[in-house]
Symmetry: D2
């Protein structure tokens, strides 16, 4: 039973905790909060032991004043855990890494941190094996994870590929009302954007650049992708569709027949089939828009920012703990367990 600590029980931390909790080979040994805020109630209900993100006595005691049991500071949690998933807000990476190294605990960071922090970036389908028994890793961002899921199988099928991607990004998170633009398109003026090239941290063989624009929506990102295949590839539009339908965590669906013309309907599908928080761990590819012309492959995919990396964290735990050397094994165990708390 792998003992997992969740450092930071917020938007990502809550999701990772529930995904860990659903697995048979691991358990949530504790979650951290900065103080006795509203979010503690969910931890209590889930029976996850609460720890304080700090070791400061005063801050630890503040929890009991609000009626919560705090089991101690972060150091105590790191002592009893086998591995820690860092779900802190940005900019805490360096400080936390020091702490984890001192405690000698295995650690996983999220895509908000840079590759250099751990020197090892991870996504299940790209490089699970190279992460086996490593001490630390970074699960890559939602966008990099999404790109990897469709590009890695293409690379595996026909080798050398060159990718150009325009990321049409949601401009604000669903619960963020302070950011615009309300009625405009905002190009990311740093060209190429950092999004595409980040794929090369998990699959250096893929050549990729990207441009990005932010648009007034809060739901999902959309990638508009052109892949240049080797001239002697032997793929067809149909075989690409087949490839992706067999790929874990990719949904290939006809948008016209299923009345899913936009990201709004993709998200609603997710709620309708009973997914917790309305999340979509899979990336969504519109089937009828996949088009291979000569050696150029065109397609659109939609990415659910706050959730597609959740199952990747679970696989990464197994990689670092060295318990499952085959990525597909881990993926199927992870996803079967998660499906227990989802509708379908």
């Amino acid at each position: 039973m792998i003992k997992v600590a969740i450092n930071g029980y917020g938007t990502i931390g809550k999701r990772v905790a529930d995904a860990v909790d659903a697995q048979d080979d691991m358990e949530v040994i504790g979650v951290t909060k900065t103080g006795p805020s509203f979010g503690c109630q969910l931890a209590v209900k889930k029976q996850y032991p609460i720890f304080c993100t700090s070791d400061d006595e005063e801050r630890i005691n503040a929890f009991s004043e609000q009626g919560y049991v705090c089991h101690g500071g972060i150091s105590k949690l790191l002592e009893i855990a086998d591995i820690v998933i860092d779900c802190s807000p940005g900019k805490m990476g360096k400080i936390n890494l020091e702490r984890y190294k001192k405690s000698g605990i295995k650690h996983i960071f999220q895509g908000g941190e840079k590759h250099d922090l751990t020197g090892l970036s991870y996504t299940s389908c790209a490089n699970h094996e190279s992460a086996l028994n490593a001490n630390g890793a970074r699960v890559v961002s939602c966008n990099t994870t999404g790109l990897s899921r469709t590009l890695v199988p293409l690379y595996d099928a026909c080798g050398d590929i060159t990718v150009e991607c325009t990321m049409i990004r949601r401009a604000a998170d669903p619960g963020d009302s302070s950011k615009g633009p309300i009625n405009a398109i905002k190009p990311v003026l740093k060209v190429p954007s950092h999004h595409g090239p980040d794929v090369m941290t998990v699959k250096p063989e893929i050549k990729i650049n990207s441009l990005a624009v932010a648009v007034p929506t809060t739901l999902m990102h959309v990638h508009s992708i052109v892949v240049e295949l080797p001239v002697n590839h032997n793929l067809s539009t149909e075989s690409v569709i087949k490839l992706w339908k067999e790929q874990p965590r990719v949904i290939v669906m006809n948008g016209t027949e299923n009345r899913i013309p936009t990201t709004a309907e993709v998200m609603e599908l997710s709620r309708d089939i009973g997914r917790k928080w309305g999340d979509l761990h899979e990336i969504f590819v519109w089937e009828e828009a996949i088009s291979l012309i000569d050696n150029k492959l065109y397609y659109f995919q939609a990415i659910h920012q706050e959730s597609d990396v959740i199952p990747e964290n679970i696989d990464c735990i197994r990689a670092l703990m060295g318990t499952n050397s085959d990525w597909k094994d881990s993926v199927s165990i992870t996803d079967a367990a998660i499906s227990k708390y989802n509708g379908i």
Copy 2:
């Protein structure tokens, strides 16, 4: 054990089914689908028996061709149920009512239907007792339900009130991408709008008019409300807050302190505390904006369109079946049971 049929297993039907399923005194005896579509999978997973909305043999047989067990047509379902919750899309009310009457089954319609259909409109806090043992009722719309929750306790506290409300409505459902406006405000040019006066179908003593505008958001409606109290009222801003905090299914929360300035953060709160589908059954009132000046009370409340009526349907079942004569009893049973499948 009350045997409940759900006629129409779509956006509302799915939610009502799960709420029924969570109660100890009732069970889902069957749900209907028009055909073997994607949504059947959720029913299978939940182990709700599937029936066909039609009695046509061919349509019934179509289910097994897709691998689903169909237990028969709607007539068969109505035979074995004690009560049916009509969650059909709009405009089916009259036809369905005929069918229910022929089957001699108790029936509950949703707020999309008019009051005249059953002659009895229902919301838990307004008129539970007058619905006891009735044959049929209409659970009022999301807006009417929301207005009743804050206005009925005001009426109970000080009698004669006159209400003016501007409804700022989401222009499209979260999963509807075909409707605008993208960057405009659309007044409802029929004045007064039908929304406010519908409260009088459950509480005729409340005088109320309303204006409505649609705005480019998909999350929640907001009501901007002015209540004229009797001159000799003995309420204060503080006592109104206390009144509403004690009222079931009303959340009164300080938006500034809790960083909930808009409906986006209200919805995110709902997801963060683990509510299924991200729903919010309660209406949300911003505490610091409640303001009683002389005999005029001003406040804002936010309404989650697809979910605030779900628990009302459960209470209405008990009213029609005559099992719980006190509305607060039913409400507390309903809400405790629902909380089992929600985070907090």
Copy 3:
């Protein structure tokens, strides 16, 4: 010929300058810029003499380095002008007022400043006569101006009125892409909002309160208004329509027949009829939504934030200079002159 200085040649200043320039009894004697930025080109094209907002030699000389003729600092401009229109960005009121007083020049501020700054607030239809020959005044905000245009004639027609207004506000200016919310409704949590009561600075006899919400649109504000008339009023829906159709700077139009269901179409109407910058100086009232029920009058009006106050500034110049004692005289002169540079 009234010599008018425009202090601040930005969004408002440019519009006021062109409106002044179109009049026969006044001229633009100079406009100020903080430095030789892009906006100077428009002043050059219009042949408005450019001055510097500061008296600093270095800053004045900076203009010629960029090829612009700068005629001196603000003090020099104030010396040669009869009156200054302050179109500075917010928070400059106090400092500028000191300067104007020292120069002994008449001055007009905009609605971003508070009433207390000059102690005299102005809008053409409400209190032109009380501003005759005054030294300084504040032209009230776009919202207050819009409310005055429909409320003052109502007050004149039947005396004592009590007004409740919900302002549905555009959340960002058309050229501001940094603000949200993208997909939410944001209530203004200070209740009542400051908007409505500001009407009482120009017409103290009108009792008014307001609530406000911000919504994701950049075009116009909409007011949802309920006016309680005296019980013995002798108005009808038709007579109110007639009243407003005769009122200057109010457009009463049937939205359904003219296909103007939302603020988007109102703004497009403005562009289509050739209005400069697509501005709409008039406020727009949807005719079919005007509804008088017993003694309550309901209606919606739309306000073009950056332009409805432009002609008011012209009238205010005449009031302070004492040249036109009748407001309707000034309004008709102003509007006829402005129409020369507009399509219709």
Copy 4:
């Protein structure tokens, strides 16, 4: 003096009429309206003779009943004109073409019609000379026009180029409130989209494909473009910038320094510099996002849908009339004349 008829005096027709009117070598001989609607007033003010789109006596007479002088039906207008600019709503192309051919009049259609209608597509910088003295032509769409302006000079500079473009399209026109999506991204599921390849109707040498998504904004389209240059090109990022700065009707501007991060600020720039209707005839390229890496050139450009083709229509008139054989001559005459009614 070229006598120009404008068939259809709506959104495009009004703009073309004013642009024609501003030229010294052509005049508006008449504009057509379907009936005596509101838009006639603008024609009267501009002193453009009004004709009826139909030859039906009854419809012609209807104008005088509303107080407008109608000079006859379309046939009469075609008799007295040298050339007609077809600005009718879509789907009228075939019928109108027949009429123009019968009248033996030269004719120009807009980009809503297909290339096949006239067999000759036109944009000033791509193929002015090939349209000299032709009988009919189609001025290409806003997107094709915009792409041509940056791609043609690239082709001229280094030959063989291959272009991939993602069009991020405004989902609705500024005056259209009926269309969504409000909070979603909608990929155009036909891949490749028709937009890019349309460039080949004016410049067959350019290889181009495109993908398109619609997003909730009403202002401008944005193109995200990757151009593969010949390996032996001798361009640099700087020389590309220089190339485009010298190209007519292209604005290359640093978005960061000039505070123009999004399309909202681009449009506001247009209003602020006094452009009629807030139009922007030029396409806007963000300078700092132009990036040439090896032989791939990346850039973003913004397109003002309803106006970038207006000056192209003027040049096309001269091409068909055979009066100016050099495109740059025509362009400079056109733009100088138009600038008379614009601020800068």
